[in-house]
Amino acid sequence: MTIDNEGRQRVLMNEKALYRYSSALARGDFDTLEAVLHAAEQDPALEQMILELHAEYTLEEDTLQAGTDVELVRGLLREHIPSAFAEEESIVQPLTVGNVVARLEVDRKVAEGDQQVARHLRDSQRVLPEIVNARAIGALARELGVAASDRFWRAFRDTAVMLGLGRSQNEMRLAAAREQRAQRTQAGRKPSQPDTDQEVSE
């Protein structure tokens, strides 16, 4: 056997011993664990590999724990300060005529002659059509049976488009955050159970 081959065989033996160790640890087989540790007493390379393996497990646990901690805190916040999440919940609701009119009033875009119509529409729960063009707004006005100025409907359409755009961006952000949370929850498992774990350090 050449020196290179000897070296390769030693590496292979240590890698095999380490796999035996990690597998034994996962199933709580302390006889095997003890045997590998006994071999490691005489083999600094194997001992170092065992320590590095545990350092890796600790790192994974810390990463998973950090994710779990964030979820825990968010859960507590939801429980104790639900109003902090009210905006998030409302954002997923569809945009209504009432939402647009309320915004027009806040922005002082309702002319004096249209104020009565605005008050009437302020509480309307009628959901806006998906496409907000002049034709759709005309149809909506007919359906609602209210008479307002062209200026009012133009402002209504512009505000509806603006609110819809802002809502889409928020929804995208929330969807991304939800996706992240779901991934963290899915990854929050025991790191030494090989068949169920996610790779956290990709």
């Binding site: 590496v11 007493e41 001992e47 030494s192």
Partner: protein
């Protein structure tokens, strides 16, 4: 100036080793980094032995460390002071945990369904699966792994992600350090990934063998 100790106080060879070993052990445990790493490993042992869960893991890990001290100190003469005491101390810990597990377990009990399942799952041992991959490496080192029928049929048992890492491991002689370099991660990270892929392959092999009976 350093004073030489009186001649009658010169320790015997064995005592000298014990004193050196003791000093080394104290020095080791006083090192915050070493002590923290050791406790981290003990926590992992306690959890995997199902001796405790949640906050109790920390408490039991401390108890085990205390037991390790009690058992290791009288045996310091067996400790090689030229070596790090890590594996030596962990050996005591593994033994202590094994005994604790035995005390917790019911002495005479029926074999549970889960244990029957576990036995079936271990048709192929850790060594078997490792040797099978190592054998591919020995006979087929320079060839394309996929071209080897035996290798291909073995690797087909697992998903593509596992197949990829196992193939790389075989090409690099199952060396975690080399695998880490190829994957661009720490050797330990590469080994953890390899072990998980190996474990899934071992289970798949066991299931296949069990099914063909």
């Amino acid at each position: 100036m350093r004073q030489e100790p009186p001649e009658h106080n010169q320790p015997t060879s064995q005592n000298s080793e014990s004193v050196t070993g003791q000093a080394l052990l104290f020095q080791f445990l006083e090192d915050e980094k070493e002590a923290s790493a050791l406790l981290g490993i003990l926590r992992s042992y306690v959890r995997n032995a199902d001796l405790a869960t949640g906050d109790a893991v920390e408490v039991v890990a401390y108890e085990v460390l205390s037991d390790v001290m009690v058992e290791a100190l009288p045996r310091l003469d067996r400790f090689d002071p030229t070596r790090s005491p890590r594996a030596w101390l962990l050996g005591f810990a593994a033994n202590i945990i094994k005994r604790r597990k035995a005390n917790v377990a019911h002495p005479k009990r029926e074999v549970s369904i889960r244990e029957v399942g576990d036995q079936a799952d271990r048709e192929v041992s850790d060594d078997d699966i490792f040797d099978r991959l190592a054998a591919i490496e020995e006979t087929d080192l320079s060839a394309d792994i996929a071209s080897s029928e035996a290798a291909a049929s073995l690797l087909m048992l697992v998903a593509e992600q596992d197949r990829h890492i196992l193939r790389l491991a075989v090409v690099h002689g199952l060396d975690g350090a080399a695998l880490g370099q190829v994957l661009g991660v720490r050797p330990a990270t590469a080994r953890v990934r390899l072990h998980r892929a190996l474990e899934r392959l071992r289970k798949a092999c066991s299931t296949t063998m069990e099914g063909s009976k």
